[in-house]
Amino acid sequence: MKTLIAQAAEPSLWSPEWLPLLPKRLVENLLEHFNAPGWLVSIGGIAAGAATVLAVFMTAFALLSLIERKTLARAQNRIGPNRAGPFGILQPVADGIKMLTKEDIVPAKAEKLLHLLAPILIVIPAIMALGVLPYGREWTPVPLELGLLFFFALGALTEVSVFIAGWASGSKFPMLGAMRAISQMVSYELPLVLSAIAVIMVSGTLSLPEIVAHQGGYHLGFLPAWHILTPWGLVGGLVFFIASIGEANRCPFDLPEGESEIVAGHMTEYSGFKYALFFMGEYLGLFAISGLGVTLFLGGWQAPFPGLGFVPSWIWFFAKLAAVIFLFLWIRATFPRLRMDQLMRFGWLALIPMSLLTIPAAGIWTLLHRAGHGLIAWVVTIALLVVPFVIMTVLFNRGLARSNRTYRFAES
């Protein structure tokens, strides 16, 4: 046992940078100590790494369900849940118990097996997506060479599981809700992928840790080289962020399961823990997609200022993640829900052209930088992005001026 403690006393094991990897290395040390076979050690390590990621994001999910309600409350000048535990800390526990004790109703006409399978199929891709993101300089649970493509492949899986959830409930309304949700997710995945392509083109790789490494360094001493701070990155980041709201079915685009819409969309016939699984899937999907946004545009675990080497890198990732998710909540507290046709028109006529615009802008940006003319690159890309926006505003205003509203009065 003593050698284990000596091993565990390695300075680097307890250093804050390696803290998230502590369980994984402890399990590996333990297995090696009991000289387990090689493959068992690696499996144990992977399991421990996965367990840490899961533990981190389960607590984050519990906290987010509380923080969301408190932030929405604060925006509406009220306090938000503060009954369960001090400041409402135990509210997620209360919700969890409520969900567990609720009776699990399966409608008669439902396909029993698929009805059970759907919530599982929604949570699995969300959790798998969390495994790919680079959280810290040393902490990337699964450093995939095709991390980004893996991410969008999982996005495709959620659509099939949403369909199964809607169709397996048997009745018409969940099916309609599912069709709406799928058409929204499909049409919002396009700008998501297109704006990510701009990032791939600039950083030249599909692997997420390398994209974050590419965003290291500081221009002019203090300006971090994040993609969001470049003109094409700003537009791409905004499009990515708005598309991720659509992809996660969050507030302005939460038509499928909005309260005033078709009951709860594809989740109508679920109750009890299956319903909680849907929520877990939605929140983990929210974490995953905003984590990807942080990695692609906000420079993952890169520190904002040069002098902050002592702070462990994963702190920056989670700080940025918290900021992005606060923005989600803020937007949820502010904007009304879009109608289905407005939602689709906005997706196709506004987001996709803007994301298509970022790709040539990013191309020109890299070429000019490679040719050494940094300043010209800024000017050209800004011009390339701002001019179409101005043109669109002019057309928008002229259209607005010309549009005479036609009123149809009810026949008396």
Binding site: E145, L146, L157, F163, I182, V186
Partner: protein, 163 residues
């Protein structure tokens, strides 16, 4: 190799289900399952890029599209399907079995001792190849896809009701 032996029977079963299942939506979902298992097989064989593209394009788009079409047309003919099955199975088998026999025969006869082959698929290499040697093909496919998108949108659009 072991992954191959696990996945192949699964794919065969899922494909059989997709073909034989009376209820159309079940067949569609089983098709999605076959496609995702095939994607996993590609990844097991070392072609991750193709496996993930298969997931994204086939499972994400084509399978969902097929199942959507099934939803819209909502066929309820699984009863006649079973009723008329004996009549259509005979000729169907009559055509496919000889084809299967010849395929398996050719597989068995022409198979040299397979060298280990390369197990990795460098994505950067694919990118270079796509835009150098196969550049015209990529442009052609791009034009084709846009044409298909517009065509499909025009086809499926409701005839606009004159106000």
């Amino acid at each position: 190799m072991t992954a191959l032996l696990i996945l192949s029977p699964l794919i065969m079963l899922a494909a059989l289900g997709a073909v034989w299942k009376a209820r159309p939506v079940h067949a569609g979902l089983l098709l999605a399952l076959t496609l995702s298992l095939a994607g996993m097989l590609y990844i097991a064989l070392g072609a991750e890029f193709l496996g993930l593209v298969q997931f994204m394009v086939y499972v994400g788009a084509v399978a969902v599209l097929i199942v959507f079409a099934l939803l819209i047309t909502r066929p309820r003919d699984e009863i006649e399907e079973i009723a008329r099955r004996p009549k259509s199975v005979g000729p169907g088998l009559l055509c496919t079995l000889p084809l299967l026999a010849t395929l398996l025969y050719t597989v068995d006869r022409t198979l040299p001792e397979a060298p280990p082959g390369t197990a990795d698929l460098p994505v950067r290499r694919i990118g270079e190849l796509l835009f150098t040697t196969h550049a015209p093909a990529v442009l052609a496919v791009a034009i084709l896809l846009t044409a298909v998108m517009l065509g499909a949108a025009l086809f499926a659009r409701e005839p606009s009701k004159k106000p």
